[in-house]
């Protein structure tokens, strides 16, 4: 993937030929990062948080998620896939958890690992972190890359509240990279580690991690793409099953609500929130100190958590129901977490303090910002107030702001243009 062109890489691509300029994406973007000008949509890389709303809403196949092609695994001698816990909710119930996992292995990997295998460890680590950081309330989950970026751009005052440790798939990467290289006698370059992910935010995070001290993974595959390839070979796999470890109890990680229940205990009160509009509402309340009674808040940009990611194939409610069934019926192998705990205590999973990326400020100088705001309000009184987005900005306010910041003109307003001004009568 080409990631050199922008300071802020995003796993979302606009195909201009397909774009009709309909503005559906403009209206669903939570950070107002998209504008349509000359009937083509474009994304401001500084504002985009990779939530995937635009990908899901585009009817013209003009905004497409970018992820790596499976072929790239051929560049590595030993290939490890790490599967997001939402993956197993994608399959109909005649395809068992173990069979689906075996099929992924047979796509050309030497080993498969699961995000779900570290859920117990994560819960333990999160609880410990909460107890060690009593001065910060509430602690905010950092696993969802879209939420982390949302906080950077819209709620920078809450950055210190983020759980400043790696997400489970990155922890697993750190842990397994050393372990596999040691045991198989491989050099770092020989080992390729790939994630199978449910959303564009995770693809972006693989290619441009926030706060990570070093590059971790070698690629990210979309759940939908892997699902298609698994379906091609599934009959054969079903006829030749091999024993394989599964972690049904760990699959809770894919469901934000269940994850909060796991962390919640006598001295830790947890709240779960999913869907980016709800997340923004809750973050605003956290800012007001209105939710200080919570010790931990699980925040997920997609509906129901990672099962709602835009690279999944199954409806988030159906996938959630299937995963709940697996959790209820399955027997988990409880892996030995002592080695991982040691790494945690050695500070190996720490991330550097995340920096704000404020998008709302009109100017660094508050006096200039006030003058700009005055001008915005003047333009706002001239605009019709319909918030129709036909100009290509999401609201009349956004157009007024664009005009003052030199990115648009009053002529962009379609309604004003149509209505003959009173002088012409």
């Amino acid at each position: 993937m080409n990631k050199a062109d922008s300071k802020y890489f995003h796993a979302i691509q606009i195909l201009e030929d397909n774009c009709t300029g309909c503005t559906a994406c403009v209206r669903v973007c939570p950070t107002e990062a998209i504008r349509v000008r000359d009937r083509k949509a474009s994304i401001d890389p500084y504002r985009c948080v990779d939530c995937g709303n635009c990908v899901s809403v585009c009817e013209f196949h003009a905004i497409i998620p970018a992820s790596d092609p499976l072929d790239i695994i051929k560049n590595y001698k030993y290939r490890l896939a790490i599967i997001s816990s939402s993956f197993f909710g994608q399959f109909s119930e005649d395809i068992s958890y173990a069979i689906a996992k075996q099929a992924v292995l047979q796509l050309g990997f030497d080993e498969v690992a699961e995000e779900a295998s570290v859920t117990n460890f994560m819960v333990k680590m999160i609880r410990e972190y909460i107890r060690e950081n009593r001065d910060k309330r509430p602690i905010l989950s950092s696993n969802c890359p879209a939420v982390v970026r949302l906080i950077q751009v819209k709620f920078p005052s809450l950055l210190p509240n983020l759980f400043h440790q790696e997400a489970p798939m990155s922890i697993l990467t750190r842990f397994l990279r050393d372990k596999i290289c040691r045991e198989k006698n491989l050099s770092d370059e020989d080992l390729g580690i790939f994630l199978i992910v449910p959303c564009v935010a995770h693809v972006t995070a693989v290619h441009q991690p926030e706060g990570a001290y070093k590059h971790l993974q070698d690629g990210a595959f979309s759940t939908g793409m892997i699902y298609g390839k698994v379906r091609e070979i599934i009959k054969d796999v079903q006829n030749h099953p091999v024993p394989i470890d599964t972690y049904p109890h760990g699959l809770t990680w894919a469901l934000s609500g269940v994850q909060a229940e796991l962390v919640d205990t006598d001295d830790i009160r947890a709240l779960s929130v999913n869907g980016i509009d709800n997340v923004m509402d809750i973050l605003s309340r956290v800012e007001d100190h209105y939710l200080d009674q919570y010790d931990y808040i699980v925040l997920r940009s997609c509906t129901n958590g990672c099962v709602g990611g835009c690279l999944n194939v199954e409806n988030p409610f159906v996938a959630m129901s299937r995963i709940k069934k697996m959790i209820k019926e399955g027997n988990s192998v409880d892996g030995d977490i002592s080695e991982m705990e040691k790494l945690y205590r050695d500070g190996e999973f720490k991330v550097s303090p995340l920096a704000p990326r404020p998008i709302m400020e009109l100017d660094k100088d508050i006096k200039k910002a006030i003058q700009k705001m005055k001008k915005i309000n003047e333009f706002l009184t001239m605009l019709p107030g319909l918030n129709c987005s036909a100009c290509g900005s999401p609201t009349c306010y956004a157009l007024a702001e664009d005009i003052v910041l030199g990115k648009a003109t009053l002529d962009d307003c379609v309604v004003l243009k149509r209505k003959p001004s009173e002088d012409d009568d």
């Binding site: 819209k154 920078p156 005052s157 605003s284 800012e287 007001d288 100190h289 209105y290 404020p358 709302m360 400020e361 009109l362 100017d363 660094k364 508050i366 006096k367 910002a369 006030i370 003058q371 705001m373 005055k374 309000n377």
Partner: protein, 124 residues
């Protein structure tokens, strides 16, 4: 109309100066607060917060204003017959006024006693 003031120590002069000056606000933001409308109560303070973020106001100050204005807005919705939240931004200070219509307070002196409440004894 009765007005009661709490002024933080050290700010008496600054507040008096503001009240006596007739300088027009740089940016105004008015929000109606309908009586007992808890669906919209809180919207005004949330909009004020967005405005202050756009102006680049320091996040600690922003959070203090947000807490105070949210509290006041909810109180107006809950206890008055409706009112209005009037925010005025100047280049070095902010004045947020809550103006409401209501039954008033029967005994203002008593109401100012810390801990005094007209709530039922069962409410702790």
């Amino acid at each position: 109309m009765a007005e009661y003031w709490f002024i933080a120590d050290g700010f008496e002069e600054r507040v008096r100066e503001h009240l006596n000056s007739n300088v027009e606000a740089e940016v105004d933001l008015d929000f109606g607060i309908p009586e007992k409308d808890f669906n919209t109560a809180g919207k005004g303070s949330s909009e004020l917060k967005n405005l202050l973020k756009r102006l680049g106001v320091d996040s600690d100050i922003l959070r203090r204003i947000a807490v105070a204005s949210y509290e006041a807005e909810i109180n107006v919705a809950a206890h008055s017959q409706g009112g209005v939240m009037k925010s005025a931004v100047y280049d070095d200070h902010i004045h947020v006024r809550f103006v409401d219509e209501g039954p008033g307070i029967a005994d203002i002196e008593q109401a100012m006693v810390p801990g005094y409440s007209t709530a039922d004894d069962l409410v702790l």
